[in-house]
């Protein structure tokens, strides 16, 4: 006698994955704060020509070293004071945001594309390709990034684009590792093998399966690399081997202000804090995305 | 003679995001020296919580209350955590369900056996080592000396569980609590391990509180049995009496749903208990089993009395439940 299939007593009805995701995002304080901060910086950078009270390159030696508003000698004309060449600091900080964001974004995109492509190839083709890519990654890991960047910039000459290119060509390793792992995982799924057996287009399947699954991890890595790139550019510019003056790179501003820091601490404090806040925002967003996209099992 | 362990009115509440979960509700039982009491019930009935409560291993979110809790004549309810820690592993010991993960992978078997003896008895390394070898041989692991230097991952599940038993016995406890010790093992190893527990009890006079969901295990090992359902003890008797004449509808349902060799007539349909365990969050009044009981009626929603017939006790509004359940 055949068993009748009894309908389940309880029907489990839960929120759809989209609604669940939205709920998680809106309750994650870190993510929200980070996104807000990031949005503010982005807005400042985009609207720089409209918001900045002065031309960041305009020197006025009669207005040198004016302290920010909250000091005794501060003035509303220069809310964050002026530097040793009389340039308005607020304007320079706002325009400096452009540089940092540009660096972060561009390096992230370049290294992300290189790394993801390599990782995908390694995971998909396996065998020799995998060995070669893994070897590349190990080689890359054996090179001290800042030293190589310094050396190359010294040879070629420092500029924004040189920095972007050098960092972009160096910082792809983590992307590659993550992509490779994700691709290998997907490739071993049963239905992929089955699809291949029936002659279905395997590359399309794999890419179609890998990308959605690996996207959160990639975003997290992207945030880490972007933050790291911003700090690296700042360090390079600080050492004089990054962005060249008179560009208002925050790192460069700190370098220029170093000589005066004992008497005018704000000259290094302001760009330094700006850097820290931007990197903090990016890290919070990255951490937040990682938490929010954790498998549902953790609840 | 006073019982070795005396529990009266034990309650365990868990704080959850959705409210207070009453995991263990006012249970009482005794264990005498050298006897085996089995605590039977399905997953979630509170039996593991009971064991953890006795040992003082409850999570931070849990609160434990008891009218009376005595072990070896001393109060167990109001002891300091320090005193409780000095009893654990020493006078009362516990083994768990998963032998594969219960041992520390970074240290040798010997190390883990020896440390508990040195901790509670203050013995020298040599003395503790000798005791470890003695116990390993007792649980049937030879050559004991070699095994001492091995790491947990080098042993099979059955062997690891034996090591756990040896470890529990290192300081000569009077009570051994075993939480589903055979559930994670292969069937043949299960039988061996149960055999071992029986032997240990006979040779060392250790009292055993065995927690299980498997009536088969109960039949093999238990002298006395307490059946738990939804945080309460619904029936308590000697093993013989329980199997001969189960009183509580739940116990009956359990027995009817498993084939017992020699008792269940061949070709007979196995029963099942309809419904699911009720939620224990928030207030729970009356008999927790009434939604699934074929004999429930209005008074079951109020306080349910405890009935007793000699040593056999059960919790039910009806003094006598008909032998044949309505279909």
């Amino acid at each position: 006698m055949t068993e009748s299939y009894a309908p389940p007593l309880l029907e489990v009805v839960g929120p759809t994955s989209g609604a669940l995701l939205r709920r998680r995002i809106f309750t994650h304080k870190g993510l929200l704060i980070g996104l807000t901060l990031l949005a503010i910086v982005l807005l400042l950078a985009l609207l720089a020509p409209l918001i900045a009270p002065h031309d960041p390159y305009a020197q006025d030696l009669t207005q040198r070293m004016i302290p920010p508003l909250w000091y005794e000698k501060g003035t509303w004309a220069h809310v964050l004071g002026t530097d040793n060449l009389g340039r308005d600091y607020l304007s320079r900080v706002i325009y400096g945001a452009r540089i940092s964001l540009l660096i972060g974004f561009a390096v992230m995109m370049i290294s992300g594309l290189i790394g993801a492509a390599l990782g995908l190839a390694a995971g998909y083709f396996g065998g020799r390709t995998d060995m070669v890519v893994t070897f590349f990654i190990t080689i890359r890991l054996a090179m001290p990034v800042i030293l190589v960047a310094l050396a190359v910039v010294a040879m070629v000459g420092g500029s924004l684009w040189v920095v972007v290119l050098v960092l972009g060509l160096l910082k792809w390793d983590r992307f590659a590792v993550v992509m490779r792992a994700a691709t290998q995982q997907v490739r071993s799924l049963d239905y992929v093998t089955a699809a291949a057996a029936t002659g279905a287009s395997t590359p399309r399947i794999i890419v179609g399966e890998v990308l959605p699954n690996v996207l959160p991890q990639l975003i997290v890595v992207a945030s880490v690399e972007a933050a790291s790139a911003i700090l690296l550019e700042a360090a390079l510019s600080f050492l004089g081997l990054g962005v060249q003056p008179p560009l208002p790179s925050w790192g460069l501003m700190i370098a220029e202000a170093k000589a005066y820091m004992f008497f005018s601490f704000w000259l290094i404090a302001i760009p330094g804090t700006a850097l820290a806040l931007l990197v903090l925002a990016i890290n919070m967003v990255g951490d937040g995305i990682r938490d929010v996209s954790a498998p549902s099992g953790r609840g | 003679m006073a019982p070795l362990l005396s529990v009266s009115g034990l309650t365990v509440d868990l704080a959850t995001p959705r409210g207070t979960l009453h995991a263990v509700r006012d249970i009482s039982f005794d264990i005498n020296a050298g006897e085996t009491l089995c605590l039977v019930g399905e997953s979630g009935c509170g039996k593991s919580m009971t064991a953890l409560a006795l040992m003082g291993l409850l999570p931070n979110s849990a609160t434990r209350r008891a009218r009376h809790l005595a072990f070896e004549g001393g109060d167990l309810a109001n002891v300091t955590p320090r005193k409780l820690a000095s009893l654990r592993g020493n006078r009362m010991a516990m083994i768990f369900q998963e032998p594969m993960t219960a041992l520390n992978p970074a240290y040798t078997i010997g190390d883990q056996l020896i440390e508990v003896h040195r901790r509670h008895k203050g013995s020298t390394y040599a003395a503790a080592r000798e005791r470890a070898i003695e116990l390993l041989e007792k649980v049937g692991i030879t050559p004991a000396g070699e095994r001492l230097g091995q790491f947990p991952h080098q042993l099979s599940g059955g062997l690891r569980q034996r090591v756990m038993i040896a470890m529990a016995l290192m300081c000569g406890p009077t009570l051994l609590i075993a939480d589903e010790p055979t559930t994670a093992l292969d069937v043949t190893i299960q039988a061996q391990t149960l055999r071992l527990l029986i032997d240990i009890q006979r040779d060392l006079g250790v009292a055993i509180l065995l927690i299980t969901h498997d009536l088969g295990v109960v039949a093999r090992v238990a002298q006395r049995v307490a059946v738990m359902y939804a945080g309460e003890i619904v029936e308590s008797a000697t093993a013989a009496s329980l199997f001969r004449k189960p009183r509580h509808p739940y116990t009956r349902g359990l027995m009817a749903s498993i084939p017992i060799p020699g008792r269940t007539p061949p070709g007979e349909r196995l029963g099942s208990i309809p419904g699911i365990v009720p939620s224990l969050i928030g207030e729970v009044r009356g008999c927790a089993f009434r939604d699934r009981c074929a004999f429930a009626f209005a008074p079951c929603a109020e306080t349910v009395p405890w009935r007793a017939d000699n040593e056999h006790g059960w919790r039910c509004t009806l003094p006598e439940v008909p032998a044949e359940a309505a279909a």
Binding site: F135, T138, I139, L141, A142, M143, P144, I146, L147, L150, A151, V152, A154, M155, V156, L231, A234, A235, F238, L239, G240, L241, G251, I254, K258, M261, F262, F265, I268, G272, L275, A276, L277, V279, L280, N283, M284 | M55, L57, A85, S86, L87, R88, G89, A93, M94, F96, E98, T101, A102, L103, N104, P105, A106, Y107, E115, V116, R119, F151, H153
Partner: protein, 305 residues
């Protein structure tokens, strides 16, 4: 265990050789070396001279093997800026950097391990939040900015420490704190996460059931397992420290290999730069190798059979 180590060593060697070739190529490829060496406003014949003197007109491969051969014999050539032999110069400065790296790592571990343990044992308490805040700030703060702040506070305002130089132990304090704080957050998070996971494990529950003391449970049973990834991370972070020392040594005028790297790069001292790049890469490779082996040794489950 031995087979494992040998295989890893062979791989490391291959990587080291490749990296040295890359370092060589990189420097020569990123610009005409002769022009860079000659400096601005040099005449064409000067450039040609330089080309001939330094053998830069030979095929690249020949130049590479020549360099490799000389390197194998410990001859890294002459420093263009310092006018002395490269190898002794590097060897003179290297100990300072090594010392700084070890100090910084020790400092980072000394701070992050206890904090990580505390944060894990009391999750979501004020200690936990404080540790998290410290970690977050540490990861966001540019290390050179932190160095400057330290100088302002400890050297200038309080006069506790000397601003720069490398004569005494006191000169190492601020650089150590700066670099230590640079790498500490990663460790702290790892320790915390590892401890939380381990404290919830079955074998820690067993340890509790055995009535062992809280100290023994945390330090003996839990920490031993939670620290396994720390050792590997230490090796990797050590590598990062060696690289990061460039900026820090320069700020504090600490006379180590990092400062030397900065000087050689800014003065286009090719032989020194090359030597340092190669040396550092080989050190990196060695550190990764040590990390792999340490991992296998610490987790008995990894060394199969």
């Amino acid at each position: 265990m031995l087979a494992f180590a040998t295989k890893r060593f062979g791989l490391a060697l291959l990587v080291a050789v490749t990296v040295s070739a890359l370092a060589f190529l990189l420097l020569r490829a990123s610009g005409d070396v002769a022009i860079a060496l000659a400096g601005e406003g040099a005449r064409a014949e000067d450039i040609e001279n330089i080309r001939r003197i330094y053998g830069l007109d030979r095929p690249l491969l020949v130049q590479y093997f020549d360099w490799l051969w000389k390197m194998a014999h410990g001859d890294f050539g002459q420093s263009l800026y310092f006018k002395t032999e490269v190898w002794p110069l590097v060897m003179e400065k290297l100990p300072t950097t090594m010392l700084l790296a070890v100090f910084s790592l020790t400092f980072a571990l000394a701070v992050s391990i206890p904090l990580g343990i505390l944060a894990a044992v009391y999750p979501n308490s004020w200690i936990d939040r404080l540790c998290l805040a410290l970690a977050v700030v540490g990861q966001a703060m540019p290390n050179f900015f932190f160095a400057l702040i330290l100088i302002m506070v400890l050297a200038v305002s309080l006069h506790w420490l000397p601003v720069s130089g490398s004569e005494s132990w006191a000169h190492f304090v601020m650089p150590t704190i700066t670099l230590g704080y640079y790498i500490a957050p990663v460790f702290m998070r790892l320790v915390r996460a590892g401890m939380i996971e381990v404290l919830a494990s079955d074998y820690v529950r067993t340890a509790r059931a055995k009535g062992l003391s809280q100290t023994s449970i945390i330090l003996k049973h839990a920490l031993r397992n939670a620290l396994v990834p720390i050792v590997a991370l230490s090796a990797v972070q050590l590598g990062l420290l060696l690289g990061g020392s460039v900026v820090i040594e320069t700020i504090f005028a600490l006379d180590g290999a990092g400062f030397l790297a900065y000087q050689s790069i800014t003065h286009k001292d090719l032989p020194v730069t090359q030597a340092l790049l190669t040396l550092l890469s080989i050190l990196y490779v060695g550190l990764i190798l040590i990390a792999d082996i340490a991992n296998a040794w610490l987790d008995p489950r990894i060394r199969v059979g």
